[in-house]
């Protein structure tokens, strides 16, 4: 098992590197002179030239990228053009907020989506199942930002139960998690349902039932584990989408997170901050893919066997 994890970790590195390269290239190609943004009122030819040398902006492209990467590995994201403070500080201060929202959404997705999917998979033609399919369809089509506004209208403005902005305390996480998670919960629900349906039709389930195994045990032990695999894949794929959606959620709910930082930085033309945000998001996606792979391997005994592991490794 450990070997598997290590291999995957190593495979992650070139991908992250490549993403950094792509994003760096895009930012590099931005038209305009960054010294204008940094120096602002104090811009002069001389100061600009001096600053360029200081920041290494006059170096060839690959050298700049190399320097950036070396710094990145040590945790140095460079200096913001606008605040002239380390980008890393702001990123680290705001990133936990983003994580909170994403975690909340994930919790909602999995905690609600999976059980509902399982139940409606077990009883495929019931009213409940039909209702879940409809809700699933609607959920997938609802734009996150509109849902967020509607939730604010209902729970903050009309009922006054929940706060409409900011992040302090558990209550303020509820609406953002709901808004962000709705699309993906619907996805997960549908996938779980269809994979449950698929599995239940299998022969080995029929065998177990024929043997007289308790229906509940059948579901929990045999069906669920196998049905989880496509679900786990879908969950993994959706983390990337969640990180994309978190930008919208943070805008609607005024949450000080990395998503909003990215939008503000784009508006201010603060390239190092934009780069920093994008790199962090990409790393998140890569790490979560890795985690999904590990969970998948754990669930699938064939892969476990391949790496000669058992739970004890």
């Amino acid at each position: 098992m450990l070997k598997f994890i290590v291999r995957r970790l190593l495979a992650m590195i070139p991908v992250v590197l490549a993403v950094t390269f792509v994003v760096f290239t895009m930012m590099y190609m931005t038209p305009g002179d960054p010294t204008n943004t940094i120096l602002g009122n104090e811009w002069t030819e001389a100061a600009s030239a001096k600053l360029k040398t200081e920041l290494g902006l006059d170096q060839p492209f690959l050298v700049q990228f190399f320097n950036y990467t070396i710094n990145l590995v040590q945790g140095d994201f460079g200096m913001s053009y606008i605040t002239r403070a380390p980008v890393g500080d702001q990123l680290m201060a705001r990133f936990p907020n983003t994580l909170k929202v994403v975690a909340g959404a994930m919790l909602f997705c999995v905690g609600v989506g999976v059980p509902i999917g399982v139940f409606s998979g077990v009883k495929p033609y019931s009213v409940f199942s039909n209702l879940t399919m409809v809700v699933g369809l609607l959920g997938v089509s609802l734009p996150i930002f509109w849902l967020g506004l509607l939730l604010i209208l209902l729970f903050s403005v009309e009922l006054g139960w929940l706060p409409s902005s900011g992040i302090d305390g558990f209550a303020s996480l509820i609406l953002p998690s709901l808004a962000l998670g709705s699309n993906y919960m619907a996805n997960i629900m549908r996938t779980t349902r269809s994979s449950m349906l698929e599995v239940i039709r299998q022969d080995y389930i029929r065998t177990a039932k024929a043997k007289g195994v308790n229906a509940r045990n059948v579901i929990m032990k045999h069906a669920l584990q196998n049905a989880m695999m496509p679900t786990v894949t879908v969950i993994g794929m959706n983390i990337g989408a969640l990180l994309g959606g978190v930008v919208l959620t943070e805008t609607v709910f005024s949450i000080p997170g990395t998503g909003r930082l990215l939008v503000e930085a784009i508006n201010k033309r603060d390239t190092p901050t934009v780069l920093g945000c994008l790199v962090i998001m990409a790393v998140c996606v890569a790490v979560s893919n890795l985690l999904v792979d590990i969970v998948y391997a754990y669930l699938d005994p064939r892969i476990k066997a391949q790496y000669g592991g058992g739970r004890g490794e």
């Binding site: 602002g40 104090e42 705001r94 209702l131 403005v157 409409s164 000080p256 503000e264």
Partner: protein, 533 residues
């Protein structure tokens, strides 16, 4: 299956209809038909002393719209910045209700002759890092202010700043400068200990400010909040902070700020969005305070841009805009329309609302003037960085279209506004300007050569105007002759029309009903150190 889908869709429709119906009945036309309120807005008292039994150790949360820019006092005159950092740094003079001067660090001062002033500074003023403020620090700070570009024009009449002894400094000016004490209230004149200032300048890092003000800096999350704690070593214990700490929260969304106060997440909202006016006025748990303002919303243009170099075009624009409608869209009608072109708010010394009775909403005249100028039309851009300005810009865009000007609206961040102006990338822009009562405080900075690189955002320079401005400053230390000259200036500017002033919006502060010590000046609610329960 199909049945379920239909039912669910019907449910969504019913829910929608309920919301629409329910909210439709409560929406009325704003502003002009204010219902009789149980909570009518009142004028704020101008001085506050704590009563017995008051709670003086609370944490007060203030919400505002825009984030601060920098703790470096000479960086910007942006309002969102000023009202935060004036708590950290002390000033020679603080601002009163009409933005006139009130001594703070200055114990006494005298004017030795027309161009020499001496200021006695309090002794033993402690800094946040345990040292004592010296007149060297004061001189250093003010010299820094003088060298800075953002408000350099403010100090144009100032010649030398020097230390006389351990408690006195001297400022000499080129000719009489009656507004000097008021000039010293400007945010850029914040007194920073020399040691800290030198370090911060060298590293370009002002993020942990050291000052002598009523509050010590605690923490900042950019784009979200600033926290500061009461400094118990503050030199003037008669006027110390009446609360334990201040938290400034940034909430860009207007209704969200109101909701923050309604739900008691914040104590006071200092940038009240008038869209919620009817709602809060009827809410017994809130207080809405109002104050006439000297904040002029205006449409400026880059006068060096060939499109605007023709005076007739600039005048045409003045006739093309319906200011009342712009005020309706920008601030839901809460304010007063002005037809000035020199950023004179109605309550300012010598202000004339419509100099020479020249302008009005007259699209036909505007078209005629464009024709006379021989300009059939052109493409341009309006730069904005606030919601109200954006709405006003979209409306003005439609008025300009009528006279052939195709303006696109571009929204940027307030942090880069100054640079956009500097780079001549703002052919037109809409923003607000908070006037001092003394016009000298803004005229030279906004419409002369000295202001270029600072707040002369319209790039307007005219030697004839320079002469008039100097005259108004030096003609007398008495205000009446000065007011007359200011009248002349406004007539001159009406003809030149370097910008188009739109309206002055009313200042509001929305607070928890039990919050005391609310003070508002003509620019914004201020003196947050007075807030207590």
């Amino acid at each position: 299956m199909k049945k379920n889908l239909v039912i669910s869709l019907l449910l969504v429709l019913v829910l929608t209809a309920t919301m629409v119906g329910g909210c439709g009945s409560s929406s009325k036309k704003d502003a002009s038909t204010t219902p009789a309120s149980i909570n009518a807005p009142k004028l704020a008292p101008s001085t506050t002393k704590a009563e017995p039994g008051a709670k003086l150790d609370e944490n007060i949360t203030v919400v505002q719209q825009l984030d601060m820019v920098s703790f470096d006092p000479i960086n910007t005159s942006d309002l969102s910045n000023r009202y935060i950092i004036t708590n950290i740094y002390s000033y020679l003079f603080a601002q009163d209700e009409y933005l006139n001067n009130v001594p703070e660090l200055v114990k006494s001062f005298k004017r030795i002759n027309d161009s020499t002033w001496q200021f006695e500074i309090y002794k033993g003023v402690k800094t946040h890092d345990g040292k004592v403020l010296t007149t060297d620090d004061v001189v250093y700070s003010l010299q820094r202010t003088q060298k800075g570009t953002a408000i350099g024009a403010l100090f144009k009449p100032v010649d030398k700043i020097s230390k006389i002894d351990d408690s006195t400094i001297q400022i000499t000016t080129f000719g009489p400068y009656p507004a000097l004490p008021t000039a010293l209230t400007h945010v850029a004149c914040g007194i920073v200990p020399k040691e800290y200032a030198e370090k911060a300048e060298a590293t370009k890092d002002w993020s942990n400010p050291i000052g002598t003000g009523r509050y010590k800096f605690k923490s900042r999350l950019i784009g979200d909040s600033v926290v500061m704690e009461r400094f118990d070593g503050y030199f003037n214990q008669e006027d110390k902070a009446l609360n334990k700490s201040l938290t400034f929260k940034i909430i860009p969304e207007g209704s969200a700020r109101t909701i923050a106060v309604e739900t008691k997440k914040a104590d006071i909202n200092v940038v009240f969005d008038t869209v919620d006016y009817n709602r809060v006025v009827a809410n017994a748990n809130l207080q809405l305070w109002e104050h006439p303002s000297q904040t002029v919303w205006h449409l400026g243009y880059d006068n060096t841009n060939t499109n605007f170099s023709n005076k007739l075009v600039r005048q045409a624009i003045n006739y093309a805009i319906d200011r009342k409608a712009v005020m309706e869209v920008g601030h839901n009608g809460h304010g007063t329309v002005v037809f000035n072109n020199a950023t004179f708010a109605p309550t300012v010394l010598g202000a004339v609302n419509n100099p020479a009775n020249k302008y009005s909403y007259d699209p036909e005249k505007a078209k005629a003037l464009m024709k006379e100028a021989g300009v059939s039309g052109f493409d341009t851009e309006i730069i904005v960085f606030r919601d109200e300005a954006e709405r006003a810009a979209v409306l003005i865009q439609s008025y300009l279209k009528v006279i052939g000007i195709n303006a696109s609206v571009k929204r940027i961040e307030n942090a880069v506004f100054a640079q956009t102006i500097q780079a001549h990338k703002a052919p037109m822009f809409i923003t607000s300007w908070g006037c001092y009562w003394d016009p000298d405080m803004f005229l030279a900075r906004r419409f002369t050569t000295a202001g270029i690189g600072g707040v002369n955002r319209v790039w307007y320079q005219n030697p004839a105007l320079d002469v008039l401005i100097d005259k108004a400053r030096t003609i007398s230390f008495d205000n009446n002759p000065r007011a007359e000259v200011y009248g002349e200036i406004q007539k001159f500017m009406a003809e030149e029309a370097p910008e188009a002033d739109l309206y002055v919006n009313t200042m509001y502060a929305l607070a928890n009903k039990d919050l005391k010590g609310i003070e508002i000046n003509v620019e914004m609610p201020h003196n947050y150190h007075k807030l207590h329960y």
